[in-house]
């Protein structure tokens, strides 16, 4: 069981409260596909991913980014119970989607950079540390049911 201090919970909720889930999700997913182009392997049916501009403007990327980050919000609401919360999603990513969990780490790091660009100096070192812990724990929960 991961322990979250009161300060960490505060840092998580205060940032999350200011996040536009649709914009942020779209941006994070787009950047994943741009910075680590091999991740496009999971999105063959997304249409035009031929350039950064195409990826950023792609409506399927935007929609899926929003879906992913919305799910992240569920994690934040269930910090004490992440493995259970993500149990089905974990099975899905393993059995149906066949996603290497390494990709969860990549997306987590990208999300942090998106938040940093958005919040500037308000994204303090403590903030970053808490959020890196969070994305790590989420990635771990998502990988938990892999077999």
């Amino acid at each position: 069981m991961v322990h979250w201090s009161a300060e960490e919970k505060q840092l998580i909720s205060s940032v999350w409260g200011k996040v536009n889930v649709e914009e942020c999700g779209a941006e994070a997913l787009a950047r994943l596909l741009i910075v680590y182009p091999w991740t496009q392997r999971f999105f063959d049916n997304f249409g035009n991913l031929s350039s950064p501009t195409a990826i950023i403007g792609n409506p399927k990327v935007r929609a899926h980014g929003k879906k992913v980050l919305t799910s992240f919000g569920d994690a934040i609401k269930n910090l004490e119970n992440l493995k259970a919360t993500y149990s089905k999603l974990s099975e899905l990513h393993c059995d149906k989607l066949h996603v290497d969990p390494e990709n969860f780490r990549l997306l987590g790091d990208i999300l942090i950079i998106v938040l940093a660009a958005h919040f500037g100096k308000d994204f303090t070192p403590s903030c970053q540390a808490t959020w890196q812990k969070l994305v790590g724990v989420v990635a771990h929960a998502l990988a938990h049911k892999y077999h």
Partner: protein
């Protein structure tokens, strides 16, 4: 492999960051020590408190080396050769995790904090590739 476009973007980014170069190094190191406490094991001889002179000084060194790399994008191996020796034979910092993942992530966060929207996806991509290339050169002589 860094394309001509990547190199241009890296140079552009470096120019934008120039006025704050002094801060970038210290900030990245501080974030790394706070976020990844295991990295502190390589600095038992340092005062690692916020604002420490040693962190500032070391940050400047790191940024100067990166600046040198930016000026020598066509020839990273040669430009970083001495540093590569230092990391392989003296420092022996765990290469794949330290340089390429943890410090790179923190450097990019600092760049994103300072550049905001200007840390575009294209620049982000080029910088990620650049830092990976630097880390690879630094790890070249490990064995």
């Amino acid at each position: 492999v860094l394309t001509a476009e990547d190199k241009k973007l890296v140079q552009q980014m470096w120019e934008k960051v120039s006025p704050r170069q002094e801060d970038v190094g210290a900030e990245a190191l501080e974030r790394m020590f706070v976020t990844y406490p295991q990295t502190k094991t390589y600095f038992p001889h340092f005062d690692l408190h916020h604002g420490s002179d040693q962190i500032r000084g070391h940050g400047k060194k790191v940024v100067a080396a990166l600046g040198n790399a930016v000026k020598n994008l066509d020839n990273l191996s040669q430009a970083l050769s001495e540093l590569s020796n230092l990391h392989a034979y003296n420092l022996r910092v765990d290469p794949p995790r330290f340089s390429s993942q943890l410090l790179s992530q923190c450097l990019q966060v600092v760049l994103a904090v300072h550049l905001g929207k200007d840390y575009t996806p294209e620049i982000h991509s080029a910088v990620d590739k650049f830092l990976s290339a630097v880390a690879a050169v630094l790890a070249e002589k490990y064995r």
